[in-house]
């Protein structure tokens, strides 16, 4: 195998073409796709995303309409049924569970992605700045993170939801407020090891402004770790949101999310309507699994330490 590749390169050189190098990202991609669990996770994620985006066009019913034919006897006739268009059955109010699951998937994925984005942008910049400047500024900045971390943020978030009213925006703000803390720590740790490298020294020596050094030279080198951690952060954001919704303090009807659907299903379980908890739970679990596997795969692919 090595011989064949070697001959290929030799041929290219003989023909006068410049040897084509492989970028670290290409290497990482090869390593990632060699990991079966991670690839499968990626496929699942793509399928779930397609379900969230296009499921609406497959649904026969809207997520708000009540099927009056089934309202009184959901437990007997409300189960999954291809003929009347309720692919996942109906909930206890006779609303189509397929349409509601599609809608809940959208909300849950959005919360996860927004939380991860906030953490990537804010956390990375904060951590990189603290690590690069160092000294007393670093001390104050990281102590602030420590203080914020020791606050039971879920209680504060619930407090905020009650005080300022429940809305999707408030949920995003609340989740964004806490999600960047871990990322800031990780980014700082990485920055500390990067900032003594020669290329940063060269940038300092040639008089590049600190902000430019952080953005142009440090942040790109943090990206590998940041991406891995962001992937692992999405599921925990989804869990947070589901937690809030499970308590009935998250998104409001007719909007829903996985947590709210699981809660609804759990409260009806004793009547034997297991599809009501089963379908949302299924999507919740496979998505979290997929994110964890993709995150692990990315770590193996991007973290040069473990090679």
């Amino acid at each position: 195998m090595a011989l064949i590749i070697g001959r290929g390169i030799a041929d290219e050189l003989r023909n006068g073409a410049a040897p084509k190098g492989r970028s670290p990202w290409q290497d990482a991609r090869t390593r990632f796709f060699r990991n079966r669990a991670a690839t499968a996770g990626l496929v699942v994620l793509i399928l779930v995303a397609i379900f969230a985006l296009l499921g609406r066009y497959l649904a026969v019913w809207s997520n708000e309409d009540i099927d009056w034919n089934l309202l009184g006897n959901v437990a007997e006739q409300g189960g999954p049924n291809w003929e009347n268009g309720h692919f996942f059955g109906v909930d206890e109010l006779g609303r189509d569970l397929f349409a509601r699951t599609v809608q809940g998937t959208q909300v849950s994925l959005m919360v996860g992605i927004v939380g991860a984005l906030v953490s990537v942008v804010v956390g990375t910049l904060y951590g990189a700045t603290a690590g690069f400047i160092g000294g007393r500024v670093d001390g104050v900045m990281m102590r602030t993170v420590d203080i914020l971390m020791s606050i039971p943020y879920m209680f504060v978030l619930i407090l905020m939801l009650v005080v300022f009213g429940r809305s999707l925006l408030m949920l995003f703000i609340g989740i964004g407020l806490v999600s960047w803390l871990d990322m800031a720590r990780i980014a700082r740790g990485q920055t500390l090891s990067i900032k003594n490298k020669e290329f940063v020294e060269a940038a300092v020596a040639t008089g590049v402004k600190p902000l430019t050094i952080i953005l142009r030279h440090i942040v790109p080198n943090l990206l590998g770790v940041v991406i891995v951690y962001a992937t692992l952060l999405v599921p925990s954001m989804i869990i947070y949101e589901s937690f809030i919704s499970f308590l009935g303090l998250g998104v409001q009807e007719p909007n829903t999310s996985w947590g709210a659907l699981i809660n609804d299903g759990a409260s009806q379980m004793q009547y034997g309507t297991l599809w009501q908890i089963g379908f949302p739970l299924f999507f919740f679990v496979i998505t979290l699994f997929a994110f964890f596997f993709v995150g692990d795969g990315l770590r193996d692919a991007l973290d040069p330490k473990d090679r």
Binding site: M154, F155, V156, L159, L249, F292
Partner: protein
């Protein structure tokens, strides 16, 4: 060591003050006081009520009195909804319950998690390892609000072995399901951390030395490997504690155990600001205290750590 504890305590005080003031301001900013209702009260009556609760005083006086009340008399003020109880009564009622199942959850998570992780590491790459990894990956996607309905479905609805909720003064059959539901995902994380930490430690030079001396394997594991293995586990205990306190909200709601979380959510829904503030501050204080304990434990296990 004692100066370290003292310094950490000195840091803890401003943290708690910030938490109290921030919570207070958040409540103050809330639109609509606790006594606004559909039928507005006559202004004279309103003024009387506000005078009784001290709401007519300037903001800084209110905050000052609140802080002084907590510090000197451990008095969290009145509940605005339950006329015959103040916040202390509610805390005294709910806290022992939360503490009971919280304690057992913590014990289960640590004991099961650490033994699972250690077993997996010792039997690295055998079926036992794969089983332990499988269990911990599976448990990771089962946060408490997912575990709770699944447990009830299996043990209450199908098998009929355990009661589906209630507390009854804390008899064992009422504790089992809350403990399992609360501890599962933390147990998984602890198992994962222990495994990778133990694998690293087992490759260290001092372990090779211990084996070369001809020490029996169990002495190597128990006397030499376990202590350094526990370091990352211990630093995870802080976040785990916060997670369990938060999780108790779900447990209280789902199993009607009557712990502190139930009062918190009820007060959130009723806008009972007194209770919400009290519970938030109490959990914040507990978290700070627990983090201090963890840091001390860390320094005790690893004497190289100096603060």
């Amino acid at each position: 060591m004692s100066s370290f504890i003292l310094r950490r305590l000195i840091i803890a005080i401003p943290v708690l003050l910030i938490l109290i003031v921030a919570t207070f301001l958040l409540m103050y900013a809330a639109p609509g006081g606790p006594f606004t209702s559909e039928r507005p009260l006559p202004p004279e009556v309103m003024a009387n009520i506000e005078a009784k609760y001290g709401l007519n005083q300037p903001l800084y006086v209110q905050i000052w009195k609140y802080v002084v009340g907590i510090v000197t008399q451990f008095d969290f003020g009145p509940s605005y909804i339950y006329k015959d109880q103040d916040v202390n009564d509610i805390i005294a009622q709910g806290f022992p319950v939360t503490l009971t199942y919280g304690f057992w959850s913590f014990v289960v998570a640590v004991v099961v998690g650490v033994s699972l992780g250690v077993t997996a590491a010792i039997r690295h790459n055998t079926w036992l390892d794969y089983l332990a990894v499988g269990v911990s990956v599976g448990a990771q996607v089962l946060p408490n609000f997912v575990m709770a309905p699944i447990l009830v479905l299996i043990f209450t609805l199908w098998l009929g072995w355990l009661p589906g909720g209630g507390w009854q003064g804390g008899q064992w059959q009422f504790i089992i399901m809350p403990v399992i539901a609360l501890s599962t995902s933390f147990m998984a994380s602890i198992a994962r951390i222990t495994r990778s930490s133990m694998l690293e430690v087992l490759n260290a030079n001092f372990i090779r030395t211990a084996r070369a001396k001809g020490l029996p394997e169990h002495t190597v594991i128990w006397r030499h490997a376990l202590k350094p293995t526990m370091l990352p586990v211990i630093s995870y205990l802080g976040p785990a504690f916060v997670g369990m306190i938060t999780g108790s909200v779900v447990i209280d709601i789902y199993f009607s155990t009557g712990g502190i979380g139930q009062f918190f959510v009820n007060s959130a829904l009723n806008r009972d600001y007194g209770v919400m503030m009290g519970v938030t501050i109490l959990t914040g204080a507990l978290t700070v205290l627990f983090n201090l304990l963890v840091d001390v434990l860390y320094a005790w296990i690893d004497p190289r750590i100096r603060y």
